[in-house]
Symmetry: C2
Subunit: 324 residues, 2 copies
């Protein structure tokens, strides 16, 4: 079982590689080698008992995909992308990396007649407001960003290439990842994680929106679980509908804070400072708030049990079990 | 008002060009020139009181789109495509013509900073079974053909380029065109037209499916009307949702035949021969049967009044008012 992780230096890519290294197998088959590919060199997971190759390059360079698929990986995790804000500001770069990069991977596989499982990291950004109260499995794709457009196009390509028998693909639309480890970033969605991560680490965090803003979350651990499940599931049951909205936890910011209070206490919660920002409020208004992911749940994808669990996972996986 | 019709030698393209030539104006503005572009040279409509330029070439050649947009047409009708069956059999050609051709048009416009109205002829092939009884405006796109995939991708691109302000596009999903003039063809959908057109012309026609097969139709005249309306409507009300399912007439084959009997009598209907074909029956099972196109109707798109009207339009427009 040979594995290729494209986007292997990103947050989810790294955690996925660590999980695969720890497990040593995927779907009951021993992993015999893993390639981690990204625009910058990634890191070998310490635990890996199999050879790990670190490669870097420009995923949109037409020579890259043929190079990456030449040794016929059995499973390809396609997480390589530039993020939403960058794709919105750099129009050409977004299409080049997020759309052409994905298409070239499919074409390279078709060219050599190799048909691996592909797990494509899509996004709830394929949806655009106005929404129903909860977005169902048959709601249409009307992205409000170029990033969302590029993800929706790759979903369509993966479904068509799978239908034609060129690859065996699954597109999984990830919820917003929370609690995102690392430093606060400038993404408009950053505060969902910031108001958890920073207080737990003894730092203040700014909350720019009101407590009744609702959003759709999954922990990094759950996201890695989705990837593994998508890589090992029986795809015959998907038919031609190979894009799935992943299950998640729908909570308001107020409920996030209540969960933090329960897990970590008043002192930690007191580190959240409310500084309303109408600009961010306006952006967040256009985002999905809730889903009904019957199909993914029936297929065995498992969300976090609650937002409290999401916080506890962060404390366990990132803070060594300790709250500041 | 300068107009470019891409796919100007096709059935709808020709009828659109004739209508524009007859009207002499579009949206109240005099037409000062029209370019008809296709893979083969089209025909100048006889009635045109303005200059008509006939151009031909390969729409997927990267040099073509810049050439076509160089004189900055005010309205572009993008109907250039290979059909469903051909795109399914010739995978590379389908993506090249139907997807890359469309994308290169958008890129050529962005490159010169020209922002025309684009009317893109999309298709109900963006939808794939299983369906609800009637497909609503918010039903998801799960094409079951490469053709439908390519149309869905172009819809996404047109919406994103419009949202970014690079073009002002509208994608209209045409019902099956009926009664399609010309000779019987081998398309699986051909019989819907054949069983009307051939008997009206004194010929026998084969009906390969049962009378209870339901489908979604528009006359060529209605389709041209959709194009004109999409070219002249206020697009501000569309927001970011620029793909619209067009209204149509949902009838069973039995209702088609009853309408033919009413318009043309028993003798004409007797020319339909029932020769069941399980292969075609199976294909047709996966096709949309009915729609609820509230949005398009509210925006002023007008379907044929009934299937009888569809037949009468064929007799008026193609048969000089006479039934054989």
């Amino acid at each position: 079982m040979k594995i290729l992780v494209m986007g292997g230096a990103g947050m989810i890519g790294r955690k996925l590689a660590e999980r695969l290294a720890k497990d040593g197998q995927l779907g009951g088959k021993a992993i015999t080698g893993m390639v981690l590919y990204d625009v910058v060199p990634g890191e070998k997971p310490a635990a890996a008992a199999f050879p790990v190759t670190i490669l870097s390059g420009d995923v949109a360079d037409p020579k890259e995909a043929p190079r990456l698929v030449a040794d016929r990986p059995d499973v390809i995790f396609q997480l390589a992308a530039i993020v939403s804000g960058e794709a919105e500001q750099e129009f050409e770069k977004g299409y080049r990396i997020n759309m052409d990069g994905g298409r070239q991977l499919l074409e390279a596989l078709r060219a050599i007649g190799h048909k691996p499982r592909i797990v494509f990291a899509s996004s709830i950004a394929v949806f655009g407001a106005p929404f129903p109260d909860a977005i169902g499995d048959e709601f249409f794709q009307t992205p409000l960003t170029s990033y969302g457009t590029q993800k929706a196009i790759c979903e369509l390509l993966i479904s068509d290439y799978s239908r034609k028998g060129f690859v065996d693909g699954v597109s999984i639309r990830l919820p917003t990842i929370c609690v995102r480890p690392g430093k606060p970033n400038k993404a408009a969605s950053g505060f969902f994680s910031n108001i958890m991560r920073e207080p737990l680490a003894g730092q203040e965090a700014i909350l720019p929106v009101s407590d009744d803003v609702r959003h759709w979350h999954a922990s990094p651990r759950a996201a890695v679980g989705f990837m593994i499940h998508a890589a090992t599931m029986d795809t015959a049951v998907l038919g031609a509908r190979r894009a799935l909205s992943m299950p998640g936890v729908s909570v308001t910011v107020g409920e996030q804070i209540a969960a933090l209070r329960k897990v970590a206490g008043d002192e930690v919660v007191a580190r959240i400072k409310r500084v309303p920002d109408p600009f961010i409020d306006k952006i967040v208004e256009g985002w999905p708030r809730n889903f009904v992911t019957k199909r993914a749940v029936a297929l065995g994808f498992e969300a976090d049990a609650s937002f409290e669990e999401i916080i506890r996972i962060h404390i366990a996986d990132e803070l060594g079990g300790k709250i500041a």
